[in-house]
């Protein structure tokens, strides 16, 4: 029977069904694959925004081919995130500037595009902002950038083992991300604040 499950990382409790997430999903408990706290727990507010990933016309899948083509790379030369004006104001993001998006897995940096096309979601009587991220970038090629997939976790659907990269939660802050050890420290600081452990997110 059709039903609705929330994604692995979500700010909302399942409004339609008692069971929050798909009980048959495949999870991997690993140091580099921590999940986010459940929505009704104190740590959930550490990753308050929804991230949605999507494609651009100018690039193709992971950009392995399109990022090596000058004519395509110049049309979308840099990894960027799209945020609504309300979120930009809330987090002091500068249009055309840089932002760092952080999850329990990693922190990536992206240019900021402030646009009306990113609307806040209104669910269960509260407003949650969305961050849109195209996922075509990587460290190599004519056009390089951080990969949006670094933010996602490995939580696979049981049939074909596709990971959940289309919907997750994250925090966003202005400025470029730290490099090297400091980047790891940033991610760990967020995990500590959220109370993320190896068991977080593994419940139903």
């Amino acid at each position: 029977m059709p039903t609705h499950y929330e994604p692995q990382d979500t700010p909302f409790t399942n409004p339609l069904y008692g069971h929050q997430r798909n009980p048959t999903r495949l999870l991997f408990q690993h140091e580099l694959n921590r999940y986010h706290p459940a929505p009704d727990t104190p740590g959930a507010g550490v990753y308050p925004y929804v991230v949605t990933t999507y494609r651009l016309t100018e690039h193709f899948t992971a950009g392995g081919m399109s990022r090596w083509t000058p004519y395509l790379s110049e049309l979308q030369p840099e990894f960027f995130c799209e945020v609504g004006p309300e979120l930009a104001a809330e987090r002091k993001l500068e249009h055309g500037g840089w932002a760092t998006v952080v999850t329990a897995r990693n922190a990536v940096e992206a240019r900021v595009l402030v646009t009306d096309r990113m609307r806040p979601l209104r669910v269960q009587g509260r407003s949650v902002h969305q961050i849109g991220m195209p996922y075509h970038w990587g460290p190599n090629g004519y056009s390089t950038g951080d990969s949006a997939n670094e933010l996602a976790s490995m939580a696979l659907d049981p049939n074909v083992h596709i990971q959940e990269v289309k919907a997750l939660t994250a925090d966003i802050r202005p400025g470029r991300r730290p490099r090297g050890r400091e980047r790891v420290a940033l991610v760990e600081e967020y995990r500590r604040r959220a109370g993320v452990t190896e068991r977080t997110g593994t419940e139903d």
Partner: protein, 358 residues
Amino acid sequence: MTNPEHTGEGAAVSGRDAITGAAGVVSEEQRARRGEREGGQRSGRRGGRRRGEPTRVPDADFRSYHGRPVLNQIVWEARDIGGYLFLGGLAGASSVLAAGAEVTGRPGLARPLKYTALAAISGSTAALIHDLGRPERFLNMLRVFKPTSPMSVGSWLLMGYGPLAGAAAVTAATGWFPRTGTAATIGAGALGPLVATYTAPLICDTAVPSWHEGYREMPFVFASSAAAAAGGVGLLASPTAQSGPARRVAVGGALTEVAVSSFMEHRMGLVGEPYGQGRAGALTRAAKALTLGGAAGAVLGRRSRALSALSGAALVAGSALTRLGVFQAGVQSAADPKYTVVPQRQRLEERQHSEERA
């Protein structure tokens, strides 16, 4: 090749005003007005002026594509084309004065002016060729004669004038063929005024607002500036006994230039603004100061060679800065969409308004 208008970091604007694609907004006042308007207006037009309302200050309101200029930016180098304009004017006016000095028996005045004319026209041509993207192809200018292209007309004019100025200077320096030299001097003097003024249609025959709108006065600005410069050279290089006419031309040219250019800048209204702002404003003000100072010194230094020379130098410098100021004003006006959009939008509305009434 990076895009000069917008490199990423510099494009940063914050929060709500940074809606991508929103019309370019210039001031707080405009932002506030835009807020009221977005609530109501559907026509898509910034309600700057309704039909029948009195004309407001023109630069109050305009829309643009992400604040970007409409025109492509001038690719000429200020030093090259500004130099080309200044030296061409100096050459032409010097030849006119040299011819006058020649026929009225003032060799002490004629000789330095002939040398100046040759040096200046050579420098002007060299500057033009240096500015070409493919300098080795400069002779392609002589493939055609196009009256619609002031640069083409100028190239041919220089083909005629150059040898005359050259002959005038060489015969003066060597003493050979004096009668030919006199004829060449007079010929150069006849073409000189055109050499001094054709550069005005050259820059005005573009879409650059601060140049095009000044096309009526610009030739007079250039001619009088050239006269001041040539007169200045005469004051610098010739004995006071013979430099009288140069003094008169210098002072007359200087005063005319300052008067006409001030009038031009004022009459142009909105697109005259760059002449008073930024780097163009600084150059123009310095030019006027040097020109007027030089003119005053020229009047006061009637008997002093030293003061005359100083004044002459000031006048030459003032003339050079005048051209650089004009050039820079053009660059500034092409870089701001306001100067392209506002006058055209106004003109369009006036035309539509009068069509409706007709």
